[in-house]
């Protein structure tokens, strides 16, 4: 491509072609991660279903669920090499959403296993929302807060298990402790993030 003058129509054609090529790159290989995680999860779930019926020592096979993150990430590294050279807004947002969901998928079983209620689930959902917002506005602090909140949802089973023995499952004290942890995490997640975002906006205006 040389530095030559163009007609107006040629300019428009050039702009359209460059934008279309970039758009084609965005949608390239978009289905691959779905197929990798989809087939793997189906295979492991069917394996579990079979083991539940036929295996002698079935509980050992429950560890088989961990095949999904380990093999999944290995396959992603092998087969989902992203085209380098350009980064775009959509890549960044999709990565943030799926990373948030991936971390959630890892810690949610732990939370459910210890019988924690709705609070950690709400924290996780808010965390995914915060991580996604951080990706959209390109803010590392908010992204850190979002991931920290998702991981902090593990505080619920931990605190309950340490502070309250299982026989006090429905006690007022336990509920009160849950509410306090919830309030602190929501404060960090939404109130602090809100102030950080407002501060950044003010800095940009000045």
């Amino acid at each position: 491509m040389e530095e030559k003058k163009m007609s107006e129509a040629q300019s428009l054609a050039l702009i359209t072609s460059m934008i279309n090529e970039t758009r084609a790159r965005i949608t390239k290989n978009l289905g691959k991660p779905f197929l990798i995680w989809g087939y793997l999860t189906v295979a492991v779930a069917l394996l579990q279903a079979t083991a539940a019926i036929f295996a002698h020592d079935f509980y050992i096979y429950l560890w088989g669920w961990f095949i999904i993150p380990v093999v999944g990430w290995a396959l992603m590294l092998l087969f989902n090499k992203q085209e380098k050279g350009a980064t775009n807004y959509i890549d960044r947002c999709l990565n943030a959403v799926w990373c948030g969901i991936g971390v959630t998928a890892l810690i949610l079983p732990l939370i459910l296993k210890f019988g924690s209620g709705l609070f950690p689930v709400i924290i996780i959902l808010m965390g995914i929302g915060t991580v996604t917002t951080a990706a959209v506005v390109k803010n590392k602090t908010i992204r850190g807060i979002g991931y920290a909140a998702i991981l902090s949802s593990l505080l619920f089973p931990f605190a309950e298990y340490i502070l309250f023995p299982l026989e006090e499952f429905c006690s007022r004290e336990r509920y009160s402790a849950e509410c306090i942890i919830f309030a602190v995490l929501i404060f960090l997640l939404l109130v602090v993030s809100g102030h950080v975002l407002n501060y950044k906006e003010k800095c940009l205006k000045n």
Binding site: M1, A9, M18
Partner: protein, 97 residues
């Protein structure tokens, strides 16, 4: 009355660079070279012109041991591109309808 087309953008390679950068957050030199099919020397000169005009940011760094030049469009660049499109519309108004 037709608006004047920005002479800095009304050149094939510079317009290609700006059109490419408008739809990504950043792109490296090799990627822009592949997409525009320009020679490295010519591309370098045009990127320099766009940078001096404040239309793009150029960051030089390393990817491992390999040098890497990354370009991204600036607010000025976006405004200039929008004005260019609006001027183009005034030229092509009748044909676009």
């Amino acid at each position: 009355m037709f608006k004047e087309l920005n002479p800095l953008l009304h050149s094939e390679l510079r317009l290609a660079i700006i059109s490419l950068l408008i739809s990504v957050e950043s792109a490296d030199f090799v990627y822009i070279k592949e997409q525009t099919k320009a020679t490295a020397g010519n591309l370098s000169v045009q990127i320099d012109k766009l940078q001096k005009a404040g239309y793009i940011n150029v960051q030089k760094g390393f990817n491992g041991k390999m040098p890497r030049t990354t370009c991204s469009i600036t607010e000025n660049g976006i405004n200039a591109f929008e004005e260019y499109i609006s001027a183009l519309k005034s030229y092509l108004g009748d044909k676009l309808r």
